[in-house]
Amino acid sequence: MDMSQYLDIFLEESEENIQRLNEGLLSLEKNPDDKEIINSIFRAAHTLKGMAASMAFERVADLTHKMENVLDKIRNDQLNVNSDIITLLFKCVDKLQEMIENIREKGTEDAEVEEIIEALKNIEKGKAASITEKKVELEIEFNEYDKDIIKSALEKNYNVLKINVTIYKDSILKSARAFLVYKTLEELGEIIKSVPSIEDLEQENFENQFYLILITQKSEKDIKSKIEGISEVEKVEVERVKIKKDDRKEETVEKVEENKQKDVVNTSEVKEEDKNTKKVSQSVRVDLERLDKFMNLVGELVIHRTRLEQISRDFKSQELHETLEQVGRITTDLQDLVMKVRMLPIEKVFNRFPRMVRDLAQELGKEIEFVMKGEDTELDRTVIDEIGEPLVHLLRNAIDHGIETPEERIKQGKSSKGTVKLVAYQEGNKAVIKVEDDGRGLDVNKIKKKANQLGINTDGMSEQDIRNLIFLQGFSTSEKVTDISGRGVGMDVVKTKITSLGGSIEVQSEVGKGTAFIIRLPLTLSIIQALLVKVSEETFAISLGFIDRVIKINLSEIKISNNKEVIIYRNNVIPLIRLSEKLNLMEVELEEKFCVIVKVGEKTVGLLVDSLLGQQEIVIKPLGKLLQKQKEYVGATILGDGLVTLILDVAALV
């Protein structure tokens, strides 16, 4: 069978499961006794095993199988979690990751797993061997349906009993005896499950032991005595099946030792506690290229709708106008939809960080409390794909340069454990991501010194301006170059990447208190609300995302401060930029003009324009190769009248 078509799905799902393993192990390290965590790790390993086996990746399957064995021991209290085991399991996960990567790139697993498997075996055997003997219990699995029945029976105060019947080994009529037991029990209540199945019992496909689950109003004693009355029954054990929250013992009784099915059932699932790990969502995986195409087509539609609206205004036909309004509503809905389809929670990027932070902290001998918030903040797929790398840089910097060593922290009267926070949230039509640490903060003097070395004059610069110098190319204040960061290729790369995504980054810092990097990103990339303005003869679009407000000003209100033009608005001095000057256009003589006040990061600037043409939804189209160097524009768009209009890049202008 040709498996290649499933390969992508396999790879993607494997990554998800590896991620789950990583997360699980991290929390297991903190709460070694939490059975829930072990269960979720177990499930992830199990799913991975199943998928790998079906794709004929035997080493992956083999390794996960051995991991499962160890996990199972932990789960059944035959093995205690210690740091050695966690480290080994982490190693396994890394190995799995490596193999998945190899499969992605070369199509084969290609990795040395023998050593690690040996280690797993040792752990499995070494400590657990003595306790493992008497575990020849039969397995009982409940499916969702069974669980429902059990639950409602318990609610109605029926007894749910598990009856373990052993028939004499040398009985020649085992199936007949079993049938009698079955018959008897059927009269006393309802049998909802039998292990082995009733068919197997009839055909004598069993040793000499079987289980039945009975829902009845009779007591355990009654049942026991009735069955003991049947000849050739050697032993009867009756116990209540409980499906309660804190009944952990019951859980292990019902648990499947070596589960061959994907749905491992244990009481915890009956409790429906862990919905989040077992979220069954109906979804379809779609090729990103198709989504892009879809997005482009909707973009075209928006352009032509605007054009039609323009035409309809000229014709003044009521009927046409009404129909167009409908079309307008539908396109807007369609647009919202396609945008949402492209949105992904930032969790996809965030979820690999806890592991990274843990490893880095260990490597550098630092104590770090890593806090993540707002993982469900959604961003455009394109942004999600690109934002990981800059965030890695920022986190590494925070851990390597920001957070001090425990001794140093104690000396400064801080707690030995540093805190690194990664927070995401939505603000207007932007997503904000903050990377904060409570470390040593940026040393302005150090930056100044470095700047002077590089020949940058820092006289007259504010402290904030000086801090912003770290975003320059080749700027690293760290005196020693470490493996983690400090090669001077960090911050400028981060800034370039974020700017290319249409976002901005700013830094806030206080010596001794910590540093915060604040990244603002547009939620979507290609359709935006914009204000159309006129400067000289030309029309330009400015994204509403940047605009704080628009005010009408008389040219006499423009003041000069420090050789620069400013306006005073609500007691704030706002620097003024004449767009006509920036763009080398003819200055139009007018008494009154408009000032578009824009906010970029913490900078507020007024852009002077001649007139306003209104607000419109526009589709950003990239500029061609010949205009690639024009930093003033993010792109161009086609307006309703069919004319092309440039979209100003406010961040680059101010």
Partner: protein
């Protein structure tokens, strides 16, 4: 090869038809302030935004005649418009008719001597490198 012959000022130029995506009438062009000197602006070609190059400025030719056509060329998967006075004709020529250019100019691929006039064959790739 097949070539498109067009007029620019008082000279005739040509481009390989393989590069030519279409020929358009002059249309309104949106200026791009601060753009390189030879970029005339942007046009809306049936929903796509295309950069238009002022060919006479790029080739450093004087020209005051009316510019009637924009030749849309497609080079390295990007479409670019070239402003010319007028597109004359499309003809088939033998490859050996192309002579080496006299002046050493990266924009020029060769010279073709037709009976009525001399045509300068342009190098497409060089035009968009700027």
């Amino acid at each position: 090869m097949q070539i498109v012959i067009f007029t620019l000022g008082n000279e005739k130029f040509a481009l390989d038809t393989k590069l030519v995506h279409g020929i358009e009438k002059m249309m309104s062009i949106t200026k791009v302030p601060n753009a390189p000197y030879y970029v005339k602006g942007l046009i809306n070609l049936r929903g796509s935004i295309i950069t238009v190059v002022d060919l006479k400025t790029l080739l450093n030719k004087q020209n005051k005649d009316q510019e009637e056509n924009i030749i849309i060329v497609e080079i390295n998967q990007e479409k670019i418009g070239l402003i010319v006075n007028k597109v004359d004709e499309v003809i088939e020529i033998e490859n050996d008719k192309i002579e080496k250019p006299v002046e050493n100019n990266s924009y020029i691929k060769g010279i073709i001597n037709l009976k009525e006039y001399i045509v300068t064959l342009l190098e497409g790739e060089a035009l968009i490198e700027g």
